[in-house]
Amino acid sequence: MSKIHVTTQVNGDAVEFLCEPDETLLDVLRDRLNLTGAKEGCGTGDCGACSVTLNGRLVASCLVLGAEVAGSAIETVEGVGTADALHPIQQHLLDHAALQCGICTPGIIVAAKALLVQNPDPSEGEVRYWLAGNLCRCTGYDKIIRAVLSAAAEMRGENA
């Protein structure tokens, strides 16, 4: 099978790549674009470790084909913040020690950011149900929920 040529945008940068017709966006990000922040926890859309946004919509990149994303805008964890300029969600996760092994964290950050874009003032229940698509085996979730709620408050200009 011949490869497909795709031009698209990732974290604001124009990128192009060749991929197999059946290659997932997750594999393209990890293996062709060297963006290894998104992880494969299941490959079946059940764990959220591979979460990215595609034109602003939260998706499981293991369920999207690389060939589908031509002309889109994709954001991965690498586009959310940097070590010197952490996004408030990242900063609050750090402050709460809301991660342990860290493997689920990129997906949680991307998913939480997508939530706060839609709903800047979520209730605890809304955060819990939104993040129910992201499995974390380490933390028992409590600190993640606290961190997202306090990041949301900061982003709304409260408790600055």
């Binding site: 197999e20 990890r30 293996d31 963006l35 290894t36 922040g37 998104a38 992880k39 494969e40 926890g41 299941c42 490959g43 079946t44 059940d46 764990c47 470790a49 991965t76 964890v77 690498e78 959310v80 913040g81 940097t82 070590a83 952490l86 990242q90 996760l93 750090l94 402050d95 709460h96 020690a97 809301a98 991660l99 342990q100 092994c101 860290g102 493997i103 689920c104 964290t105 990129p106 950050i109 229940g125 955060v127 819990r128 149900y129 993040l131 129910a132 698509g133 992201n134 499995l135 974390c136 085996r137 380490c138 933390t139 028992g140 979730y141 409590d142 600190k143 993640i144 929920i145």
Partner: protein, 788 residues
């Protein structure tokens, strides 16, 4: 005021910035130039004889480099078991061979038969489908009772039966039986500790590499203990000397026990890298993880508790069948025996305790340690039967526990099951629990639930665990085939910065943060001057790894010992620089001072002198400032605590909701409270998962029915509440220098009985006395109907 540096400070985790920005380096993030990809052909049947394997078609497929079968591994060692249990008659356990790739027979769904190595994963996967395996299916042995019945099909033809061992611990049978005969009341309970899959969110990965010029091997692997893998694989499987084998476990995405063990895929990739002359990478997908990662728990138990007329415990007797699966995984035999039987006394003064365990081979994935390993199984039985007894004789569940507690002034306390608790205060944690769980407010909350048409229950649980597994001489007598010390090297540079090499491994525990806190505290310098090096056998010479909540208690103690040696030498150097006697030198806040004077030199002056020894006592000591220490403890540590869970049960649907959860733990001294809190949270989350959701289910043909996240219910954010946790009750461990006990497994041990006790409490007036985990709506609803 809380500290902001050193022991007791909630220092922020330094490892987190790389994880938060997607820059963590996990094994699957590593790619080596020229690497090939391995895809495993696994058995689809639980039991069968391999009549033949034809790989000719596969070998001709595009991109295929080589196809390996069991024949390539003839004469090569099998996967070793690290623990040999001796049974009740003094005979050693039955120990079957465990080949890297199946030899003649397959014994569980997922048993590896052949491996295709190809240029790409896709090509390897396609070719794997073309490997023609001819198998004569045999009846599968799945149920433990059936496996032990006379005439059962045998999992291993060369063993006498499916019984691995029949083991016993505790009092003389006659004494225990007499205590039961004379007891005022006996409570009996049959229960199942459900089979679980550990499910770290990172599936296992192995990359093997062989360097023909240096004639050495490198294995990158998702392991909790790279040195143990080096030892087991190097010495027992592939025959590679330790200095020719480097094992690297970089960032590891969770372990929970299942990444302790040495797996066939590690040996395969290392072996195949030399055979094909290129690196070989294998990454498990999730469904493969379900049928190749060692599972956990899977005990079936009958427990009996005898009480006197005042509700005092007089004797305890248990009989357990423990599933080993098809082969003995690395530590499997130790889990139902020394990690389980020894904890059956719990926090109580029961004078007679007798434990019997039969370990059984079945045609299922091997079963081994999963977070808590044996201790959750012990706690669950004990705390369920106590709850049942309390209800039968009409004593409050807190009172019955309290009146049977070992009291704070009775330590050290030797139990009837071979261990001696050094310290504890169970009344203190119970008092703390009553406060933080607001037990007094339960009646009001119950009334509110009832007003909504829901039933509410309160479950109490007290656990004790043995952590910091060691000492080597004792575990050697108990059957361990390795030492269980830990080593540390503290390397101080000329500028005063420090690298601490530890054999412990961090895969979420935060060692990169907490271990520097310990060293910083001892030297009085800032934590930021200290870095931890771990996870690479070429950088850290020796180690035993991270499991059984041992890293701080054993690994941290080794760091303390090495740092003490550093301080002793640094004081000699400082004495020389200050022209004072060594005995007069004091170290505080990073300054060496002559006692009673204002003469001092800074840490950095001393470290510089160690490496630029122009003014140095060369006749007395060598230049340099680097020390190594090994620490082998003289007992286990015994964390303990009291937990409370409140649930609401919907009688119409059987749905259970955990409304409140509180944990009061005694971990001894605590280095970083914020990290400890996270460890407890995570354990509670997994324990609620075991109690309500998770179950690895096999059908009678040995097919795993719950082999994906569609079928195996993992706890999600919407399934769990917020937790109230406290670790202010601290009875420091008496025998390690930090006074620490370990906190990694407590939550997973303490929470399942609390949840089940709460559900039974909610349904008790209907006549429900027990429901086996997981308490799914179906099981709860059925129990309600059966009781009606």
């Amino acid at each position: 005021m809380p500290k902001d540096n050193g022991i007791g400070a909630s220092s922020k985790r330094r490892e987190d910035v790389r994880f938060l920005t997607g820059k963590g380096k996990y094994t699957d993030d590593i790619n080596i130039y020229g690497q090939t990809y391995a895809y495993f052909v696994r058995s689809q049947v639980a039991h069968g004889t391999i009549k033949g394997i034809d790989s000719t078609a596969a070998e001709a497929m595009p991109g295929v480099v080589k196809v390996f079968t069991g024949a390539d591994f003839e004469g090569i060692g099998g996967i070793p078991c690290g623990w040999q249990v001796t049974d009740r008659n003094g005979e050693v356990m039955q120990e079957p061979a465990h080949p890297v790739l199946a030899q003649g027979k397959v014994r569980h769904v997922g048993d590896p038969i052949a491996v295709v190595v190809a240029e790409s994963l896709q090509e390897a996967r396609d070719a794997a489908e073309a490997v023609d395996v001819d198998i004569d299916e045999l009846p599968a042995v799945v149920d433990m009772k059936a496996a032990l019945a006379a005439g059962s099909t045998k999992v291993h033809d060369d063993l006498t039966s499916n019984l691995c061992y029949d083991w016993t611990l505790g009092g003389e049978k006659a004494d225990v039986d007499a205590a039961f005969e004379n007891a005022h009341h006996v409570t009996t309970l049959d229960l199942v500790n459900n089979r679980l899959v550990a499910n770290p969110m990172e599936p296992r990965v192995a990359i093997g590499k062989y360097d023909a010029a240096d004639e050495d091997y490198t294995l990158y692997t998702t392991s909790q203990n790279p040195h143990v893998i080096r030892l087991l694989m190097g010495a027992f499987v592939l025959g590679i000397p330790e200095h020719k084998l480097r094992v690297v476990a970089p960032d590891v995405g969770g372990g929970f026990g299942t990444k302790i063990f040495h797996y066939a895929e590690e040996a395969f990739c290392t072996f195949a890298a030399k055979a094909v002359g290129r690196p070989v990478k294998w990454t498990a997908d999730r469904s493969e993880a379900f049928i190749s990662d060692a599972h956990g728990r899977d005990h079936v138990t009958k427990i009996e508790l005898a009480l006197d007329e005042n509700g005092m415990f007089v004797a305890l007797r248990t009989d357990t069948m423990a599933n080993m699966g098809a082969y003995l995984s690395t530590f499997a035999p130790s889990v139902p025996t020394w990690l389980h039987g020894t904890l059956m006394a719990g926090t109580y003064k029961t004078p007679h305790v007798s434990v019997n365990v039969r370990a059984v081979f079945t045609n299922t994935v091997p079963v081994d340690a999963y977070r808590g390993a044996g201790r959750p199984e012990a706690t669950y039985q004990l705390e369920r039967v106590i709850d049942k007894a309390a209800r039968e004789i009409g004593i409050d569940p807190i009172t019955i526990r309290r009146q049977n507690f070992i009291k704070a002034d009775e330590f050290p306390y030797a139990t009837p099951v071979a261990v001696e608790y050094d310290t504890g205060d169970y009344d203190a944690t119970m008092n703390k629990l009553i406060e933080i769980a607001d037990i007094a407010g339960f009646a009001g909350r119950k009334a509110e639930s009832e007003a909504k048409g829901k039933r509410r229950g309160l479950g109490i649980n007290c656990y004790i665990e043995a952590c910091g597994i060691a000492p080597s001489n004792l575990v050697g007598q108990l059957g361990a085939r390795a030492g269980l010390y830990e080593s540390a090297t503290v390397r101080v540079t000329a500028t005063g910065s420090i690298a601490v090499m530890t054999g412990s491994h961090s895969h979420g525990q935060g060692h990169e943060t907490t271990f520097p806190q310990v060293v910083a505290d001892m030297l009085g310098i800032d934590e930021s001057m200290i870095d931890i090096v771990h996870g690479d056998t070429s950088k850290v010479p020796m180690g035993m790894g991270t499991y059984g909540s041992r890293s701080l208690a054993v690994g941290g103690s080794a760091i303390v010992k090495a740092t003490e040696k550093i301080i002793a030498k640094a004081k000699k150097i400082a004495a020389h620089l200050l022209e004072a006697g060594e005995a007069d030198i004091e170290l505080a806040d990073g300054q060496f001072t002559v006692a009673g004077t204002d003469k001092s030199v800074a840490w950095g002056d001393v470290t510089l002198a160690a490496y630029v020894p122009h003014n140095y006592p060369l006749e007395d000591i060598e230049p340099g400032l680097e020390e190594t220490a090994f620490y082998d403890p003289n007992n286990f540590t015994y964390p303990a605590g009291a937990y409370a869970c409140e649930v609401e049960v919907d009688e119409a649907t059987g749905k259970v909701t955990v409304e409140r959860f509180a944990a009061a733990d005694d971990f001894g001294n605590v280095i970083n409270p914020m990290i400890v809190e996270g460890q407890v949270h995570g354990g509670i989350g997994q324990g609620i998962g075991q109690a309500l959701l998770e179950h690895a289910v096999y059908d009678s043909d040995g097919q795993l029915l719950s082999g994906s996240y569609m079928d195996y219910a993992m706890p999600r954010a919407s399934d769990v509440p917020s937790y109230v946790v406290d670790h202010s009750c601290q009875t420091p461990c008496t025998h390690n220098p930090l006074g620490v006990k370990g906190c990694g497994e407590a939550g997973a041990i303490g929470s399942p009985p609390a949840v089940v006790n709460a559900v039974v409490d909610a349904l008790a007036d209907l006549g429900v006395t027990h429901i086996d985990m997981p308490l799914s709506p179906n099981r709860v609803w059925s129990a309600i109907q059966a009781a009606k």
